[in-house]
């Protein structure tokens, strides 16, 4: 059963090689790999929910000599979210890329990105995390520059350099950890690491690198251009999954591996930066002229909400209220992942149909593409945090946690952020409705519209109504 962990990495990797070696059958190979990997991810979640934390020692070497893979509730949930988003985006991408040469270049890199995301979420070794971070970064950059346009290549280059800087800082932290504890295994470190100058510096360096990669304000400057000029399916995965992977690492390191080192002040710093991200990101989204730029700034803002949880998790005592808050965080992350991916895919449909994604000129999109506009609206529901979306539950937990911990600032920020989100979403929807007649058919471009619709539906409705299992799965913690 624990072989599932290595299969989740081996399947997309094998798919990438197959897509590379058989370019004419690349699309079919990719979709088949996608389905297989999604099934494996579902099996993993089921396995973790029933049997608890899963370990796999690669090569059979234990005791820190080899590399171990680990899956608990948090990583299993994120792996499944990854699988659903990538599968949906793959279906969309099979219709998005028309030319065979584009497809031949896209699929191997796409599957390599999926491999790296899974490898990152399941890794239990610090240096292995560095390698997976680099693989994520390089494949994401290569995908983002696939269009070849100047804006895309420029943004990709900036992304690459920022990513390299972040990885180097992360590696510096890892070297300190090895110097102090002579092990790179996360589970061992969680047992033996004690607060002190070495650990503090190592965590500071690693976090600095990761915060660059997760685009936390004010280190977010690279994100909007990169996500806005990449091809639509790539933007979806970049916003929904790649930045979330770096966030997952911050969460894992701060909460599970090195919890003793984290102080209230450090958590407060993250909270303040998160608040800045919410306000600045939402403000810029409100003034965005293009849909993709709006969605990219919305990602900056939504990541801010995730960081707002840190001071709460630090302040709350280790009991039910803390678990509730953590569950809220995860549900918010899951909802955002699905909703943002769906939003980018829907924007891609709009862009391909109208030739542009300027908000002011959206007149009548609702008429021509009713299913897509509905998807955008659903994504908006999830981004604002209206019930019954999962984001509503997440933000509710955020507010409840702030009350319990007595930190009122976050409540104010959350409310303002949600109002701003409502403003920019309704602005888009306002422009999308024109005065023309309504068509008889809801879904006009099946392969392109269904993925966006399904993703946003899950985010806006399913995750909210069926959220209770999330909390119970999260009880399986490393």
């Amino acid at each position: 059963m624990s072989e599932l962990l290595i299969w989740l990495v081996a399947l997309p990797l094998a798919g990438a090689l197959a897509a590379l070696l058989l370019p004419r059958r690349a699309t079919a190979t990719a979709i088949a790999t996608g389905v297989a990997t999604t099934l494996a991810a579902a099996a993993l979640l089921h396995g973790v929910a029933t049997q608890g934390v899963m370990h796999y020692a690669i090569g059979g070497w234990t005791g820190g000599l080899g590399i171990a893979l680990r899956a608990d509730g948090l990583s299993a949930l994120l792996v499944l979210m990854n699988a659903l988003v990538v599968l949906a985006a793959s279906v969309y991408a099979s219709a998005y890329f028309r030319k065979p040469s584009q497809r031949a270049r896209f699929w191997p890199l796409w599957l390599l990105l999926w491999t790296s995301l899974n490898a990152l979420l399941l890794s239990g070794d610090l240096f292995n995390l560095y390698v997976t971070l680099e693989l994520v970064g390089l494949s994401a950059v290569a995908l983002a520059s696939l269009g070849g346009q100047t804006a895309a290549v420029q943004a990709a280059l900036r992304y690459l350099l920022v990513g390299l800087l972040g990885s180097m800082l992360f590696l510096a932290g890892v070297s300190l950890i090895y110097a102090a504890y002579a092990t790179l295994d996360l589970a061992t470190l969680a047992r033996v690491a004690e607060a002190g100058p070495i650990l503090w510096s190592a965590l500071a360096l690693m976090s600095a690198g990761l915060l660059l990669k997760t685009a936390l304000f004010p280190l977010h400057f690279w994100l909007p251009p990169a996500h806005a000029s990449a091809p639509a399916p790539v933007s979806a995965v970049l916003s929904a999954l790649v930045v979330k992977a770096a966030f997952y690492l911050v969460l894992r390191l701060w909460l599970d591996v090195f919890p003793d080192v984290v102080t209230a002040q450090a958590a407060a710093v993250l909270g303040v930066l998160g608040a800045g991200a919410i306000l600045w990101g939402s403000w810029r989204a409100l003034h965005a002229e293009r849909l993709k730029v709006l969605a990219a700034y919305s990602t900056v803002a939504q990541l801010g909400y995730l960081f707002l949880f840190f001071p709460l998790l630090q302040a709350l005592p280790s009991d039910a209220s803390r678990d509730l808050a953590l569950g809220g965080l995860v549900i918010l992350a899951l909802t955002h992942g699905l909703a943002k991916a769906g939003l980018f895919l829907a924007i891609g449909v709009v862009q391909q149909r109208s030739g542009h994604d300027t908000i002011r000129d959206l007149d009548g999109t609702a008429q021509r593409l009713p299913a897509t506009t509905f998807a955008i609206a659903l994504a908006g529901v999830a981004l604002i945090g209206l019930p019954p979306s999962g984001a509503f539950l997440g933000k509710w937990q955020l507010l409840a946690g702030s009350f319990a911990a007595g930190q009122w600032l976050w409540i104010l920020v959350t409310i303002i952020g949600s109002l701003l989100a409502a403003a920019y979403i309704f602005r888009v929807l306002g422009h999308a409705f024109g005065h023309g007649p309504y068509p008889n058919v809801a879904v006009t471009l099946a392969r392109e519209e269904w993925p966006a619709l399904l993703l946003t539906l899950t985010a806006a409705v399913v995750l909210g109504l069926a959220a209770a299992p999330v909390w119970s799965v999260l009880e399986t913690r490393l």
Binding site: L21, G66, R105, F127, L135, A142, A172, P197, S201
Partner: protein, 363 residues
């Protein structure tokens, strides 16, 4: 060596290292900066040898200084302007230059703070006393690993999964490079001296690569160093103005590019099928399996690094009815030299084609 002379050597080495780094970073001319960086890399390789890390020294010299330097120099060849004009988006810029001195001071103090934190923590780590790291665990398990070089054992056995992902990193980078455009324009055919050198240098490099691969099991060496040496052979051929450097095309090229990752996956999953852990080689077979994987990895690394040096999709060489190949694309040298390069290139192509046919290298 006595302790004092070692200390003097260390001091000299470190001083030259830091000076070269500073000079490379502060130099105003880009080409000079890259050459100083290559010199820095070679001094660093010396430091690795001093710190008893010969595998790393080989890799740093071949890849870190050699190939990276070659990549940077070729890239610098194409720059029209040595320093970018502000607003010209040909180059990535983060701040509007000229940078205010306040900003420079802020960045300097932040870098100093980060470096200082690292140093402070490192000092604490060193003060704890001598550490063995994982060395004991490695030497305890070395007899079962199939090789006697501990670094190879770690790379290809204990932490083979890292190496697998690293080969995937190489693959992702080269796929990105290939998607961005065609290969860089070639070089004009070399004169007799360099050509004569190339004729014997390339076979020696290939032999050295094979040797490094074989010897990596029990002495410093291994797939990465061998792959880099093989790539160096390709780079040298390219620099000599040859049209064909031994790179296959089409499906064969893709197979070679993915050979490293592919072999790892094949063997890992096969072992899984036999009931062993992923990449858990049985002790009796470990040596053979490692050699097989290393051979595939060497080829993949060589092909990938050469493609990176080429800078894009290699163009097939087409021959017309009379057996002539079209002229080499003009060398994109800054100002003036382009006109000279063109006629030389046309006659050079016919020679190059002849050489190709002589040596029966697949074009």
């Amino acid at each position: 060596m006595s302790a004092t002379s070692l200390l003097v050597f260390d001091g000299l080495l470190l001083v030259s290292m830091v000076s070269l780094a500073w000079a490379a970073l502060a130099s105003t001319d880009e080409r000079r900066s890259v050459i100083l960086f290559m010199a820095f890399g070679l001094v660093v390789a010396l430091a690795w040898a001093r710190l008893l890390a010969p595998d790393v020294a080989l890799a740093e010299a071949a890849i870190g200084a050699g190939l990276a330097g070659a990549l940077l120099l070729t890239a610098g060849r194409e720059q029209r302007q040595p320093t970018p004009v502000h607003g010209a988006a040909g180059v990535h810029k983060r701040h509007d230059a000229p940078l205010g001195s306040a900003l420079r001071w802020a960045v300097t103090s932040m870098s100093a703070a980060l470096g200082g934190t690292l140093a402070w923590a490192l000092a604490h780590a060193f003060s704890r006393g001598p550490q063995d790291g994982l060395a004991q665990a490695v030497s305890a398990n070395l007899p079962d690993s199939g090789v006697s070089n501990p670094v190879t054992a770690v790379l290809l056995n204990f932490r083979a999964y890292d190496t697998l992902l690293e080969l995937a990193v190489l693959l992702a980078a080269v796929l990105g490079i290939l998607a961005l455009g065609r290969e860089r324009p070639g070089y004009a055919a070399s004169g007799p001296v360099f050509d004569g050198l190339v004729r014997w240098l390339v076979p020696v490099l290939i032999l050295t690569a094979g040797y490094l691969l074989w010897v990596g099991a029990h002495a410093p060496g291994g797939a990465f160093q061998a792959g880099a040496t093989l790539a160096a052979a390709g780079v040298v051929l390219r620099l000599a103005g040859r049209r064909c450097i031994g790179l296959p095309q089409g499906t064969t090229l893709r197979i070679l590019m993915s050979a490293g990752v592919g072999m790892f996956l094949l063997i890992g999953l096969a072992l899984l099928g036999f009931g062993r852990p992923f990449l858990g080689y049985p002790a009796a077979w470990a040596g053979v399996l490692i050699l097989v994987i290393e051979s595939a990895a060497m080829v993949a690394i060589a092909v990938t690094l050469v493609l990176a040096f080429l800078g894009g999709r290699p163009q097939p060489i087409r021959v017309d009815a009379l057996g002539r190949a079209p002229a080499l694309p003009p060398v994109a040298a800054p100002s003036g030299r382009t006109r000279e390069a063109m006629p030389r290139a046309e006659s050079a192509t016919a020679e190059a084609l002849e050489r190709c046919n002589e040596e029966k290298v697949r074009c």
